[in-house]
């Protein structure tokens, strides 16, 4: 969990994403009570365009590039899924840089 990827620990990645969702989608600054594996879509936290805003955010904040095939339910269903996806992309970015 605490492995460092592209200067972020996985923990930090998780925190940044959670804070963003709390602030931007739930308009709460404190913990929203959203569990890591809660479905964001079934709970209605994120609706259609919300996914898109989230993609924009991830690209900008972590300087990763998200390609169209990445925009699928598996990568966005929960906080955990988004974190796992982001970490994978960060690893990919690092890999490219050191090549």
């Amino acid at each position: 969990m605490n492995e460092t990827v592209a200067s972020y620990t996985e923990e930090q990645v998780a925190q940044i994403i959670r804070a963003h969702i709390d602030q931007e989608f739930l308009f709460r600054t404190k913990d929203s009570g959203l569990a890591d594996d809660d479905s964001l879509i079934a709970r209605g936290v994120i609706d259609s365009m919300g996914i898109f805003r989230l993609v924009n955010f991830l690209e900008q904040r972590f300087e990763i590039s998200v390609s169209p095939p990445d925009i699928v339910m598996e990568n966005f269903r929960s906080l955990q899924a988004i974190r796992a996806f982001t970490v994978t992309r960060l690893r990919g970015r690092d890999g490219q840089e050191t090549d």
Binding site: G44, D47, S48, G50, R53, Q60, P68
Partner: protein, 606 residues
């Protein structure tokens, strides 16, 4: 969510990834207006000072108000958001933005304090004062299009009115506004300075980016999509009502009525549950029910379209801006063959998914789409599920104040949102079209349809509202023409000024006629060549909004002041072209450079 919806995001992402980067410019000479702003500018040109595009909000502030912090917060807000310091003008035939340098912000205050008055009297005076200020005209040319007024009711009782012209503000902007203002007020109240980080881009950067992107292949790809998906002739829903003024009323004359709607927690919950099981979004389910409502209230009209505003903030950077970004999506529905709600929902899902993916085309760039001269904004629908950010001012109790009055450019606008599992919203309607009891009936029927939809989605829609409400005979339903003939679009004519200047005198007449015909086809007929020879504008039987847009555009592109009435009175388009040419030549003789339209407002009165 259904795979269609995910595919839509993938497509949108793929389309947008071709766009040039959005960058902050140090200085832009005559920054252009965005396409969306340009449309509002043209509408305002022919109907200056109309209030249909005012977006006022008011709050009652109870408690110890820190005036200084409030004034400083508004000043910082205006400094931060370029749009709040922007007015508009036309220059060399184009609509441009004029951004003022930040300065001191003056917060006008109006005292309604009078110890001798009874509270009801004070409330009445407040309502009147709010109404006057909320609908006081904006001058797009020279004024700030953002105004704040503080009404003083007592030492610890105030009402703050914030008023915006739509051309610099939209629904999304409200969240940005409340968030920024809340933070700024708190900071100044606590003796600090403006705490917000600099914005990455400004609205003028976005407009420039949009103009760059929406030319060439991106524009063609988007236009091709919409042409293909809107190829059947579109009809607005012909809704039944006792007062049938139709769509000919000028927007300034349509008074705005409002009715609230709140679905019961049980029904709201059933809708959310149904949505999940159907693999749709709440937006789609509510829109499908709205389609059924329009269908039943138009005597069973089987095909119609609804327009839906979409936030359209294409980049994360634009999410933080106050500005006007909204696009209108044109969403047709086909209810032939008495489908079930489930079947209609599937259709709606496809239409909405496609529209989401192709949302970046501003409506005025739709070409070759046949609306038969009807306005876009007859029936509008909106739904949002992100909670709205509340305005929070330290130590004050902040309560929204409902505003009355105003005008609109639509017949019907159902705007819903969901918060904490309950769906609620407002039905806005034109009082020239509907009586209040008719609007109330629409809302009751909407709820009935939703209850049926979630309990019996497989049932044919005709069973949903057994009474078909048939429009009165004075509006005969037009036969739906199948495939209309289409001609290729004439090229855009923005360079007409340059062409006129360079042309030899004997060429100018033909040039002006070509320009005028081309513009009429492109703007007023949306690329639809009329099957008869060109007539006067009146005979083309366009709706008022379209005419206004057309005349505004011509006057801007040619930098000519000509009363709108002359456009309608000309007996043919050629006669009109000759008159325009005469005026253009006169302007060339008297002034070496054609004046901007903005300088001479008195000539624009209808």
């Amino acid at each position: 969510m259904h795979p269609d919806i995910w595919r839509a995001f993938q497509q949108l992402h793929a389309l947008r990834s071709e766009a040039p980067p959005l960058v902050l410019r140090e200085h832009i000479e005559d920054p252009p207006a965005s396409f969306q702003q340009e449309r509002l500018w043209y509408l305002d040109q022919a109907n200056p000072g109309g209030s249909a595009y005012h977006l006022p909000v008011a709050f009652r502030l109870s408690g110890p108000l820190d005036w200084r912090a409030l004034r400083l917060a508004l000043e910082a807000l205006e400094h931060r958001h370029e749009s709040l310091r922007t007015s508009f003008d036309s220059s060399r035939g184009k609509v441009v933005q004029r951004v003022r340098a930040p300065g001191a912000f003056v917060l006008p205050t109006v005292s309604l304090r009078d110890e001798a008055q009874r509270p009801e009297q004070q409330e009445a005076r407040l309502r009147e004062a709010l109404g006057r200020e909320a609908w006081r005209p904006f001058d797009l040319h020279r004024e700030a299009l953002f105004r704040a007024t503080l009404f003083v009711l007592g030492a610890r009782e105030h009402v703050l009115l914030l008023n915006f012209h739509h051309i610099i503000y939209d629904g999304w902007s409200q969240d940005v506004l409340f968030r920024d203002l809340s933070e700024l007020y708190t900071a100044f109240h606590e003796g600090g300075s403006a705490p917000l980080p600099e914005l990455d881009v400004r609205c003028t950067d976005h407009a420039l980016w949009q103009r760059k992107w929406l030319q060439g292949s991106a524009r063609e790809a988007l236009q091709a999509y919409w042409r293909e998906h809107l190829k059947e002739r579109l009809h607005g829903p012909r809704l039944a009502s006792r007062t049938r003024a139709g769509n000919v009323t000028a927007p300034g004359l349509r008074e705005l009525g409002r009715l609230p709607i709140t679905l019961s927690p049980e029904l709201s919950n059933a809708i959310l549950q149904f949505t999940r099981e159907a693999g749709a979004t709440v937006y789609m389910v509510l829109l499908a029910a709205f389609h059924v409502l329009l269908h039943r209230h138009s005597g069973g009209q089987e095909r119609h379209f609804v327009c839906s505003p979409i936030a359209n903030r294409p980049q994360a950077e634009t999410e933080r801006l106050i500005g006007y970004f909204v696009n209108l999506l044109v969403l047709p529905a086909d209810l032939r063959g008495d489908p079930s709600f489930q079947q209609l929902l599937e259709q709606v899902r496809g239409v909405v998914a496609g529209a989401l993916a192709h949302q970046d085309l501003p409506v005025q760039l739709l070409d070759g789409v046949d609306l038969g001269g009807e306005p876009l904004s007859q029936a509008l629908f909106a739904f949002e599920n992100t909670p709205r950010f509340p305005l929070q001012l330290t130590k004050l109790d902040v309560a929204p104040v409902e505003l009355e009055g105003g005008t609109c450019d639509f017949d019907l606008f159902l705007a819903l949102h969901e918060e904490k599992g309950v769906i609620s919203g407002t039905l806005k309607f034109s009082r020239q079209r509907f009586e209040t009891d008719e609007a109330a009936r629409l809302l009751r029927d909407f709820e009935t349809i939703l209850s049926r939809a979630v309990s019996a989605p497989g049932q044919a829609l005709s069973a949903f509202l057994p009474d078909l409400i048939v429009p009165r005979a004075d509006t005969p339903p037009e036969p739906i023409t199948p495939e209309p003939a289409r001609a290729p679009l004439p090229p855009p004519s923005t360079d007409v000024l340059a062409a006129l200047g360079a042309a030899r005198p004997e060429q100018r007449r033909a040039l002006m006629r070509d320009y005028l015909r081309g513009t009429v086809i492109r703007v007023a007929l949306r690329g639809q060549t009329p099957d008869v020879a060109f007539q006067s504008l009146q005979e083309l039987a366009l709706d008022s909004l379209r005419l206004i847009e057309l005349t505004g555009r011509i006057r801007t592109e040619l930098s000519i002041d000509m009363p709108v009435s002359h456009f309608f009175e000309a007996t043919s388009v050629d006669v009109l072209a000759d008159e325009l040419l005469t005026r253009w030549l006169r302007a060339q003789l008297t002034e070496p450079r054609a004046p901007a339209v903005g300088g001479r407002r008195e000539l624009l009165t209808l």
